[in-house]
């Protein structure tokens, strides 16, 4: 095809200096990381917002030092909307990231994704079983929020180890501390801990991943 050969030659005919070549590599790397969905900020952002607003709104249904008090129905709607949004964004992002790619990394990603589903399934089964024995309402609340946070923390530890990402591993440690701290705080303080420490940690992580890729050179 003559047209294609011409355009191919056009590329060849513009010789690159070493500086230009390095700049091109950097630019292309940023572009491909963004388009292959490696940027983690889009994942942590919605979860951070969900923790902050969801657990925050539940906290505000209790009488507290904060002069604002939300009706239970409104808090339930807010919590439902923010957590469903975070789940949908995560699922869509995961599906789009690996489009057109096959190989070992897809296998690792699929196994890690299923770890969340299987882990939460088993956790709910255990919690429902324990709750059926008869627990005070506050104990049920702390059982669910504490065990969920420990599971989230451990899965971030695993993710950090899998992708050799110290920041994600650190987030895992932070979520473990948050989970344990929330149970020690008791009801309703646990919701404030989950909202501020949990949501804050996730949003900080989103901010870190937004800033981490080096800016394009001018």
């Amino acid at each position: 095809m003559a047209g294609d050969d011409t355009s191919a030659r056009l590329y060849e005919d513009s010789p690159l200096s070493a500086e230009e070549s390095l700049a091109l590599i950097e630019r292309q790397q940023q572009e491909v990381h963004r388009r292959l969905g490696v940027n983690a900020a889009l994942f942590y952002g919605p979860w951070g917002a969900a923790y902050l607003l969801g657990f925050g709104s539940v906290f505000l249904t209790y009488p507290s030092a904060v002069p604002l008090r939300l009706p239970g129905g409104l808090a339930a709607v807010i919590t439902g909307v923010v957590f469903v949004t975070a789940i949908v964004v995560s699922v869509v992002r995961r599906a789009r990231a690996g489009r057109g790619v096959r190989g070992p990394s897809r296998m690792v990603g699929a196994m890690y994704g299923w770890s969340w589903t299987l882990g939460f399934g088993a956790m709910y089964a255990v919690n429902i079983g324990v709750t059926r024995l008869g627990l005070p309402a506050d104990a049920v609340t702390l059982l669910y929020s504490g065990s969920a946070l420990v599971l989230v923390g451990v899965l971030y530890l695993a993710g950090g180890a899998l992708w050799q990402d110290r920041f994600q591993y650190g987030l895992g440690v932070w979520m473990l501390v948050t989970g344990a701290g929330s149970v020690l705080a008791g009801v309703p303080g646990n919701f404030a801990v989950l909202s501020l420490a949990g949501g804050g940690g996730l949003l900080l992580t989103a901010g870190y991943f937004t800033l981490r890729p080096p800016r394009p050179r001018r």
């Binding site: 047209g3 590329y11 690159l16 091109l24 292309q28 990381h33 057109g100």
Partner: protein, 109 residues
């Protein structure tokens, strides 16, 4: 090769805008992963003919491996970096950095 086309010590197969961009995308994949031709084309924003031309040159140098297969009766072409391709790209970027680093008194390796 003439001095205007390639800098001394740089792999001429990689040191061309289009092929350099192809190599960057392929090195961004995890080791052992393959990418479909259309997805690669989309990521690079290149025409199919242009991309084929450059992939052929990279394949001739054994830097990429092209696998043609079928998925639900549709032919699919997968492109992957070879081990020597990954090494060649690492050598190329190292050579670029060496060119940009002022020479020192250290003995050359």
């Amino acid at each position: 090769m003439s001095a205007t086309e390639s800098l001394p010590g740089l792999d001429p197969v990689i040191h061309a805008q289009a092929r350099l961009r192809v190599m960057v995308v392929l090195t961004a994949l995890s080791t052992g992963d393959q990418i479909t031709f259309p997805r690669l084309q989309q990521l690079l924003d290149m025409t199919a003919g242009n991309l084929s031309t450059h992939l052929r040159k990279l394949e001739d140098a054994s830097y990429v491996q092209i696998t043609k297969t079928y998925q639900r009766r549709t032919p699919v072409t997968y492109v992957a970096l070879t081990e020597s391709g990954r090494r060649a790209f690492a050598d190329y970027t190292a050579a670029l950095r060496a060119l940009l680093t002022p020479p020192t008194d250290q003995p050359r390796g």
